[in-house]
């Protein structure tokens, strides 16, 4: 049997979160549906929305000086827009729908309400985002130094550097092995 939206959310945030809290949060978020080919977020555009994918697949990519790099595939149980949700600002990547999709969304200016109405659910969401972003920051920072201090990097061709940039940005975006 497929997971319900609240089960997906609970699995992503904290499996020990009370079912009622996960159900409340899923119900509190706004459903967003889209079609294959939709550009959901454009790199550089201001935003404040966290999108949690329930069904379908999207792709995060960046375009730097004509070089298009796919950073991550985002499928059910994964999210994007987390940086903008925590601190509204420009999107770090463009997100395009590869298939029709269904997602849940919440905006940055709703955090205070979430905290006031259901602190346990809001705390689980904030904590999951904090832990994930800390892990990305630690692994990517180390990767940058490791890469750029190597002789290999200094004599690399632009094509190689493009590959490394993609790898590092993918880590930053949380793409992991899903590129």
């Amino acid at each position: 049997m497929p997971m319900t939206p609240s089960e997906r959310l609970r699995a992503r945030l904290d499996p020990t979160l009370a079912t009622a809290d996960a159900e409340w949060l899923a119900a509190r978020m706004t459903e967003r549906r889209g079609s294959a080919g939709d550009v959901v977020v454009r790199r550089g555009e201001w935003g404040d929305t966290l999108t949690f994918v329930l069904d379908g697949e999207l792709c995060a990519r960046v375009d730097v000086d004509g070089a298009q790099l796919d950073l991550a595939r985002i499928g059910p149980g994964h999210w994007f827009g987390e940086l903008q949700f925590i601190e509204p600002g420009p999107a770090s990547a463009t997100v395009v729908a590869l298939t029709d999709f269904v997602a849940l969304q919440t905006r940055s200016d709703e955090i205070d309400e979430l905290l006031a109405d259901r602190p346990q659910a809001a705390a689980a969401l904030i904590r999951a985002l904090l832990v994930e972003m800390c892990e990305r920051l630690a692994t990517t920072s180390a990767g940058v130094l490791e890469r750029t201090s190597s002789t290999e990097y200094k004599i690399a061709t632009p094509e190689h550097r493009k590959g490394w940039m993609g790898e590092l940005l993918s880590r930053l975006f949380g793409g992991g092995g899903q590129r």
């Binding site: 602190p119 904090l130 130094l145 201090s149 550097r161 940005l169």
Partner: protein, 168 residues
């Protein structure tokens, strides 16, 4: 930490006074001499000793080592700013060394204390973690900009100046 220390600090502006008081009661003030190492790169973060630090006076330098053993300075943490965020939130090995640049006065919040705070004051702990997350977002954005910039320039200089932020 003395009552009123957090008042007027930009990071804590979003906290109601009552919550600031609770935080002031759990942060522990600590003086350290020049050269004192709070966090050492490569060490495993231990649940019992990891802490987040708030600089009250003086400056803390954040460095990372290159493969060849040389050091890169990634940040200076000044009064009102934090370091050690990653160690509070995760068990990852410490990503940088954080050392007192001169005599410093810092306040630390250890992980066990924070976990206790979370069980007693869920909303306050979540607001605190949100503040930490905002700092991490700024650092991630800085890193993204630095990577793209370095690719464009095709040399390593941009990487040397990437703001490593207050991550440890």
């Amino acid at each position: 930490m003395r009552e009123g220390t957090l008042q007027g600090l930009a990071l804590f502006e979003g906290f109601p006074e009552s919550e600031r008081r609770v935080l002031e009661a759990v942060f522990v003030e600590q003086r350290a001499p020049r050269g004192h190492i709070f966090i050492r790169e490569g060490e495993l973060a231990r649940a019992s000793t990891s802490a987040v630090y708030l600089v009250l006076e003086g400056e803390v330098i954040v460095t990372r080592s290159h493969k060849d053993g040389s050091l890169a300075t990634t940040a200076f943490v000044r009064p009102g700013e934090l370091f050690g965020i990653i160690g509070l939130a995760t068990d990852m090995p410490r990503a940088a060394t954080c050392m007192a640049l001169g005599d410093v006065n810092v306040a630390s919040l250890a992980r066990p204390t924070f976990q206790h705070l979370r069980s007693q004051h869920t909303r306050l702990a979540a607001r605190f973690e949100l503040m930490l997350a905002r700092q991490v977002v700024r650092d991630l954005r800085g890193l993204t900009g630095g990577i793209v910039d370095a690719f464009r320039r095709g040399h390593t200089a941009a990487f040397e100046t990437i703001h490593g932020g207050d991550d440890d």
